[in-house]
C-alpha cells in the first residue's frame, strides 16, 4: 500500500484515479491533486498516464515490428521475424476469413488493434502496486498503468473504428445507399422512422459495445487484482497467481474479440447489397 494510514476504500479509489493534467476551474493548467479536482476539470483534461503508457506500448510494438519488417529476410528469417510473421499470418487468415471486400487498410488495422490491445491489457499483469509506488516515490500521486481500464482509451479506439465504419459505408454504398440501409430496412419505407431507430441503435451499438466490452473486462480484472492486494501479503499469492494466469486468457481473448469485431464491422461497411 502507498501509505499505512489509508483505508481500503481510499486505497481502491486511489488506484482507480488517473494522473490528470487539465484546466482548473479558475483557468490555469496543472496536475490534479485529488479525485475531486480531477472531476472539476471536466472535459478539458488529459489522463497523462493513459496517454503515456498507451503511447509507449504502441510505439514499442511499431518499433519492433517495423524493425522486423525492415530487416525482413526472404532466405533466413530471424527468430523474431518468425514470431512477427506468425502473427501476420494469423491476422491475415482472420481478415481473409471475415472480410470479403478489398481494402489494404483492414489487415494493418486489425494487426494494430490486436497487438496494441494485448500490450495495454498485459500491463494488468504487472503487480498493482509496483509502478504506482515507484511513481509515488518520484512524487507522482496518481498512476493507473493499464490504459484499457480507462474508458477514454477504449472509446478513443472505438470512435476511430466508428469513423471508419461511417467513411467506408458512405464510400462503398454511396450516401444514398447508406441512408437507405439505415431507413428502408428491415420493414420497408412505410416504417421509416422505426427502421431508422432500429438501425441507428444497431450502428451506435457497434462502437459502444466495442469500447465497453474491453473496458469492462479489463476494469473488472484490475479491480480484482486491487482487492486481492488488500489481503495480508502472505496470502495474496494464493489468489493473485490463479487470477493472473486466468487473466492471461482474458488479455488475449479481449484483444482477439476486439480485432475480430473490427474486421466484421469493416466487412459490413463494405457490403453493398443488403
Amino acid at each position: 500500500m502507498a501509505s499505512g494510514e489509508l483505508t481500503s476504500g481510499a486505497y481502491i479509489k486511489h488506484h482507480l484515479q488517473n494522473l490528470t493534467y487539465g484546466k482548473f476551474p479558475d483557468g490555469h493548467w496543472g496536475f490534479a491533486e485529488s479525485a475531486l479536482e480531477a472531476k472539476e476539470m471536466g472535459f478539458m483534461a488529459f489522463h497523462v498516464d493513459t496517454l503515456g503508457f498507451s503511447f509507449i506500448l504502441g510505439a514499442l510494438f511499431l518499433f519492433f515490428f517495423a524493425r522486423a519488417a525492415k530487416r525482413a529476410s526472404i532466405d533466413a528469417p530471424s527468430g523474431f521475424q518468425n514470431f512477427v510473421e506468425s502473427i501476420i499470418d494469423f491476422i491475415d487468415e482472420n481478415v481473409r476469413g471475415s472480410f470479403s471486400g478489398k481494402n489494404p487498410m483492414v489487415a494493418p488495422l486489425a494487426l494494430t488493434t490486436f497487438i496494441w490491445i494485448i500490450l495495454m491489457n498485459t500491463m494488468d499483469l504487472v503487480p498493482v502496486d509496483w509502478l504506482p509506488s515507484l511513481a509515488g516515490a518520484l512524487g507522482i500521486h496518481f498512476l493507473k498503468v493499464v490504459p484499457t481500464t480507462d474508458p477514454n482509451a477504449t472509446f478513443g479506439m472505438s470512435i476511430g473504428i466508428f469513423i471508419l465504419i461511417l467513411y467506408y459505408s458512405i464510400k462503398e454504398k454511396g450516401l444514398g445507399g447508406f441512408v437507405g440501409e439505415l431507413t428502408l430496412h428491415p420493414f420497408g419505407k412505410w416504417m421509416l422512422p422505426f427502421n431508422f431507430f432500429l438501425e441507428g441503435v444497431n450502428l451506435l451499438a457497434k462502437p459502444v459495445s466495442l469500447a465497453l466490452r474491453l473496458f469492462g473486462n479489463m476494469y473488472a480484472g484490475e479491480m480484482i487484482f486491487i482487492l486481492i492486494a488488500l489481503l495480508p501479503f502472505w496470502i495474496q499469492w494464493s489468489l493473485s497467481l490463479p487470477w493472473a494466469i486466468f487473466h492471461i486468457l482474458i488479455v488475449l481473448l479481449q484483444a482477439f474479440i476486439f480485432m475480430t469485431l473490427v474486421i466484421v464491422y469493416m466487412d459490413m461497411a463494405h457490403q453493398k447489397e443488403h
Binding site: 476539470m41 483534461a45 504502441g58 489487415a107 477514454n152
Partner: protein
C-alpha cells in the same frame, strides 16, 4: 474515470499507429512472406523439373547403351562371319595349293619313274647284250642280231 480530452488524444494516437502500421509494418512483411512463398514454390518446381530431366537423361543414356550394345553385338557377329568366310577361303586355297603341289610332285615322280625305268631298261638291255655278247661272241654276229636285240630291249 472521467471522459475528457484523453479520448481525442487516444483517437488521434490510434489513427497514427494504424497509418504507421499500414505504411511501414504490414506491406514489407507481407511482401517478404509472399516472396519467400514464391521462392519455395519455384524451388520445388525447379526440383521437380530437374527430377524429370534427370529421369529423361537416364532413359536416354539407357537407350544409348542398349543401342550401342546391339550395335556391338552386330559388329561382333559380322566380324565372326567374315572371319569364318576368310578361314573357309584360306582353307580352300590351302587345299587347292596342296593338291596342286601334290599333283606336281606326283607328275615329277612319274617322270622320274619313267626315266629310271628307261635307264634301267637300257642298262638291262646293255647288260643282256654284254652277256649275250660274251656268250655268243663267236657264234653270233652282233651286227646280224642287233635288230633282234634292240627289239628285245624295246619290249622290256
Amino acid at each position: 474515470m472521467n471522459i475528457n480530452l484523453t479520448l481525442i488524444g487516444q483517437t488521434i494516437m490510434f489513427a497514427m499507429f494504424v497509418l504507421f502500421c499500414m505504411k511501414f509494418v504490414w506491406p514489407p512483411l507481407v511482401e517478404a512472406m509472399a516472396a519467400r512463398k514464391k521462392a519455395i514454390e519455384d524451388g520445388l518446381k525447379a526440383a521437380e523439373l530437374g527430377k524429370e530431366e534427370h529421369a529423361l537423361a537416364q532413359k536416354n543414356a539407357e537407350d544409348l547403351i542398349e543401342s550401342t550394345k546391339t550395335q556391338a553385338a552386330e559388329i561382333i557377329a559380322n566380324a565372326d562371319k567374315q572371319a569364318n568366310v576368310m578361314i573357309d577361303k584360306a582353307k580352300g586355297t590351302a587345299s587347292e595349293e596342296a593338291d596342286k603341289i601334290k599333283a606336281h610332285a606326283k607328275s615329277e615322280l612319274d617322270q622320274e619313274v619313267v626315266k629310271a625305268r628307261n635307264e634301267l631298261k637300257n642298262q638291262v638291255s646293255t647288260l643282256v647284250m654284254q652277256g649275250v655278247n660274251s656268250v655268243l661272241e663267236k657264234e653270233v654276229d652282233s651286227k646280224a642280231h642287233k635288230d633282234m636285240l634292240s627289239k628285245l630291249s624295246q619290249s622290256l
